[in-house]
């Protein structure tokens, strides 16, 4: 299993990367961490004529605390995000999620921009981008644009990126005060893709939920937010009956597939169980984050 031959360009800047992509044509590929791309090259599922390597672009691997958001460079490795004190302080739900991403050797190499661009239906990062209302900055030879995560994931392995586009940065708004979080995942083996995973944040005001966010992965062609569940939680304190209604609403909202890892029924059941745990954990933590 060896890749077909390709021409290899080392981009030293974003400008050089997008110019190289524009010149190389629609079948060229960007290589960042390569943790999803190289297996496809080894299997020859892909035979791009040109690979543009963006790993040596300086300044694309930063985690920056700006006023209202954490700005994460697209070349930031999973392990950097997992262990970042800035992320731990402002987005602890993301620190937790990152420990579930694959294995250390893959987290050392895989990038945030790459995982979002690849958009595996069972990966954690697309779910977290949706949960946290991320904005993606995208560069191309014709300029830059910003896309909200909710508009970015279109289908399995399909995102709002044209040939020649490069994700350069992800902006993650900080969580509001008095926000608790929960993250729950089941995989057959630690680090495998999720059979189902649920992430939730609850923001409380006056003893009731003022804002709820619930996102899932592994239960459909893309990660998703469940607006119906979020709406039914707002205005109430979390108590067992409300949690059960939320669980039912999640199970009704998703359409998981059967594959060799798990049946659709099992995934739907699991999504409900994990929703309950994630909401209860988030509610518990709203009390801890009173400061």
């Amino acid at each position: 299993m060896k890749p077909a031959s390709f021409d290899y360009i080392v981009a030293e800047s974003v400008d050089m990367a997008v110019a190289s992509l524009a010149q190389a044509g629609p079948d060229a590929k960007i290589i960042a961490g390569g943790q999803s791309l190289v297996p496809m090259l080894n299997f020859r599922l892909l035979r791009p004529p040109v690979l543009v390597d963006i790993n040596r672009i300086a300044g694309l691997a930063s985690i920056e605390d700006s006023k209202h958001a954490i700005r994460v460079g697209a070349l930031t490795r999973h392990h950097q995000l997992e262990t970042s004190p800035v992320i731990a302080r402002h987005l602890p739900v993301l620190s937790c999620a990152m420990t579930h991403v694959a294995h250390l050797a893959i987290r050392n190499r895989g990038t945030i921009g790459g995982s979002l661009s690849h958009a595996d239906p069972a990966a954690e990062l697309p779910m977290m981008a949706l949960l946290l209302d991320a904005q993606l900055c995208i560069a191309s030879a014709s300029g830059t644009r910003t896309v909200a995560a909710r508009d970015f994931f279109l289908n399995a392995l399909t995102v709002d990126l044209a040939a020649g586009d490069v994700v350069t940065e992800i902006a993650l708004p900080k969580l509001p005060p008095r926000t608790g979080w929960g993250f729950e995942e089941v995989a057959r083996r630690h680090g495998d893709f999720a059979l189902a995973a649920v992430a939730a944040t609850l923001t409380v005001s006056g003893g009731a939920i003022a804002q709820a966010r619930v996102a899932l992965t592994g239960v459909g062609p893309t990660a998703l937010r469940v607006a119906a569940v979020e709406a039914l939680l707002v205005g109430h304190a979390l108590e067992p009956k409300l949690t059960s209604r939320a669980v039912d609403a999640v199970r009704a909202a998703i359409g998981p597939d059967t594959d060799l890892h798990a049946s659709a029924d099992y995934r739907r059941h699991l999504a409900g169980v994990l929703t309950r745990r994630a909401l209860e954990a988030a509610w518990r933590r709203t009390n801890e984050s009173a400061a």
Binding site: K2, F6, V38, L51, T83, H103, A105, I106, R109
Partner: protein, 161 residues
Amino acid sequence: MSKTRDITVTVNGDARKAAVEPRLLLADFLRQTLGLTGTHVGCEHGVCGACTVLVDGDSVRSCLMFAVQTDGRNVDTVEGLGRIGQMNALQQSFHEHHALQCGFCTPGMLITATDLIKKYPLATDDDIREGLSGNLCRCTGYAHIVKAIRAVVDGKAGDIR
């Protein structure tokens, strides 16, 4: 065949120069170009962990990286950990705890454990098992591997950090 690139890579402390095709995997560069066959190749698509090496100190799967990408970088393989008669503490602990049978997964296990010990407290054996979940062993069944790493973490087998 696309044209070759000249690269210089520091492998186990020695600068190695070679002309490589861009598509040459790091694993194949180490084994075939440099003759360092300690790095084993199992699945060739990033699942088994046998080919794990250190690049600039971080564990990576050498079947998921191209040799050309390591130009100017440091690569360390199992050959760099020690040798027969001069094994490092982790290798010695694997030896003493019978942490290998056929030995195919061992280079990847050793390199992965080296990075895990550096980056995580590994307070429980479950932490070690989770850390090893990306490395497949088909004969010893992991128990002895976990014990060998535990002994190093607990400082009972000498320091590798």
